[in-house]
């Protein structure tokens, strides 16, 4: 999957999990937990939505790699 598709998939998934986050606020360096205030349940739901929409299953061991918006996009692009 290319970066563009991955970006769209991540933005769509975040829109579902955290509808209050404005798409314009989706700075690539934003940290999902601290900046976007996703708690562990939100994060789990995000991983679930990503798996449904892109088929990319993020195992728990890889969670540190997807802690930011850019990290998540890169991960999805690299594994999809």
């Amino acid at each position: 999957m290319n970066e563009q598709d991955a970006h769209q998939a991540v933005a769509a998934a975040l829109g579902k999990v955290a509808p209050d986050v404005e798409p314009g606020d989706l700075d690539g360096g934003a940290r999902l937990r601290q900046d976007l205030e996703l708690d562990s349940l939100d994060f789990l739901r995000l991983v679930e939505v990503i798996a449904e929409s892109t088929g990319v299953d993020i195992p728990e061991a890889d969670y540190p790699a997807v802690a930011t918006v850019d990290g998540l996009i890169t991960y999805v692009a690299g594994h999809g």
């Binding site: 209050d20 708690d39 349940l41 789990l44 679930e48 798996a51 299953d57």
Partner: protein, 491 residues
């Protein structure tokens, strides 16, 4: 109107989930109520047939005000009509005063007692057909109403509407216009007279489409208003308070007029503001009344985290566990063993609870928090607890909690650690007597058997009520949580 929390004084009915004639069991959801905190679904306290609604959509009434009349089921002995919400009828609700209850022997003088006039099956039929047996002259023995009378009355096009002069034009209870709850709400919001609409739904019921079709095109512009109201209830400082009888014309017209100014952001802002006030009032009360004491301990989570990571590797994303689930389960089990943490302090005495309904503090995205209950958390498996936790948090954020979830917690847990803090000392939710806080799960250097290693750990705190327990018992409770987490497979 039931109380949905210690701090609730009034509520606004925003949606009916049943309609007159529906058969409800005890516990069935009947209405959605907007409090200062959130929109909650409330359940029936009785089994029976919904006879009529006593308040309209959008009405704000005091706790204790009857909001609907539920009549006995055919299986029960005939008895005076029962009211949902049970508590004393409020004098501000004129319709309630007309109910022929034993407390108001003269109130039903115009009509003979329902129980004596029609048998339960006939009453059921009447409610199903939207007919008021009190207004039918019976042809049966002793003037009793028969099935034929009811069917005849239902077929008659214009039943006399005794209360017409005092009601808003769209009052379905008095006029028996058959319509869906959504259609009624739309009608109120768009200022449409339901009676003037020819229904196309089942049995001639007025549907949402019928209401929309009845609106002149130029007035259809504020069409997004109802959708907005359905999605997130309007700010509480808007309409309501006054009974609709006092403003028969203005009320329906108000909604379209206001529509252009009301934006979603405003509604969310009003909600956040009233929620902030409600939280502030409750916490002030807690700090004034409850002599808090505070303890903390560091939980060794090496075993729990290793177990959870291994378990999650075997699972699809949808059934993965989070550390909170283990912490909540251990807390529930410990609360069962140390009852001084679990229950209510009311009327100067502590009543321990035999069940553990664990309140989970949920931060809402636009500010504020609610702490709905995971019922019987000590009896749930980890998977069940996880499923219910996800469901509960999702609904809390969407503003769709049920009454029991808000009113029942016997002990509350706050898990701010999820967002990064190392420890959190909570303020107890009255009338509860303790609050448990979990900080962030961190890898920490840990000395064990003379060796230094690295382990997952988290700081657990307890805020507890000194009127009920003291530090010794509180310490035992926290220690018990830690012990339980050492055998995660048994949780």
């Amino acid at each position: 109107m039931p109380s949905l929390g210690a701090d609730m004084e009034h509520g606004k009915v925003v949606e009916w989930l049943v309609k007159p004639g529906d058969y409800v069991h005890k516990g069935d959801l009947v209405a959605a109520v907007d409090t200062d905190k959130t929109v909650m679904d409330i359940e029936s306290f009785q089994e029976g047939v919904v006879a009529e609604f006593l308040v309209d959509i959008g009405d704000t009434v005091e706790v204790g005000t009857p909001i609907a009349r539920i009549t006995a089921t055919p299986a029960e002995v005939p008895q005076p009509p029962l009211t949902s919400g049970t508590l004393s009828p409020d004098a501000r609700s004129p319709l309630a005063a007309q109910e022929p209850t034993p407390a108001h022997p003269g109130a039903g003088a115009g009509h003979p007692e329902l129980g004596a006039k029609a048998s339960p099956p006939v009453r059921h039929l009447a409610h199903t057909l939207g007919v008021d047996v009190g207004r039918i002259s019976g042809s049966g023995p002793g003037g009793g109403v028969t099935r034929a009378d009811v069917e005849h009355a239902a077929a008659a096009p214009t039943a006399p509407a005794g209360r017409a002069g005092r009601d808003v034009p769209v009052d379905h209870a008095a006029h028996r216009v058959r319509s869906s709850p959504l259609a009624r709400r739309l009608a109120v919001e768009l200022g449409v007279d339901l009676q003037a609409i020819a229904g196309t739904g089942p049995g001639g019921a007025v549907t949402e489409e019928d209401v929309l079709a009845a609106v002149p095109p130029r007035e259809r512009a504020p069409r997004d208003l109802p959708a907005e109201i359905a999605a997130q209830a309007p700010p509480p400082e808007a309409p309501a308070a006054a009974p609709p009888q006092e403003e028969p014309v203005e009320a329906p017209l108000e909604a379209p007029g206001e529509a252009p100014q009301r934006k979603p952001a405003t509604a969310a802002g009003g909600r956040a503001e009233s929620l902030r006030q409600a939280v502030g009032a409750l916490m002030s009360r807690s700090k004034k009344e409850i002599p808090h004491y505070y303890l903390s301990t560091t939980l060794d989570l090496a075993a729990a985290m290793a177990w959870m990571l291994a378990a999650n590797q075997q699972r699809p994303v949808s059934s993965r566990l989070v550390p909170s689930a283990l912490l909540l389960k251990a807390t529930a089990l410990a609360a069962k063993e140390v009852p001084d943490m679990n229950g209510f302090f009311t009327r100067g005495a502590f009543q321990p609870s035999s069940s553990v309904h664990l309140g989970v503090a949920v931060a809402l995205r636009h500010g504020g928090l609610v702490a709905p209950a995971l019922h019987d958390a000590d009896t749930l498996t980890l998977d069940e607890l996880m499923d219910q936790l996800r469901d509960l948090v999702g609904r809390a954020r969407a503003g769709r909690l049920q009454r029991a979830e808000m009113a029942d917690p016997t002990l509350t847990v706050t898990n701010l650690g999820d967002l990064g803090v190392e420890s959190v000392y909570g303020v107890i939710y009255p009338p509860q007597v303790a609050m448990v806080g979990f900080g962030k799960v961190l890898e920490q250097p840990w000395a064990h058997n003379g060796m230094l290693g690295i382990r997952h750990a988290a700081i657990a705190t307890l805020s507890a009520d000194h009127r009920v327990s003291d530090g010794m018992r509180g310490g035992r409770f926290l220690a018990r949580i830690d012990e339980l987490l050492q055998k995660p497979g048994d949780l």
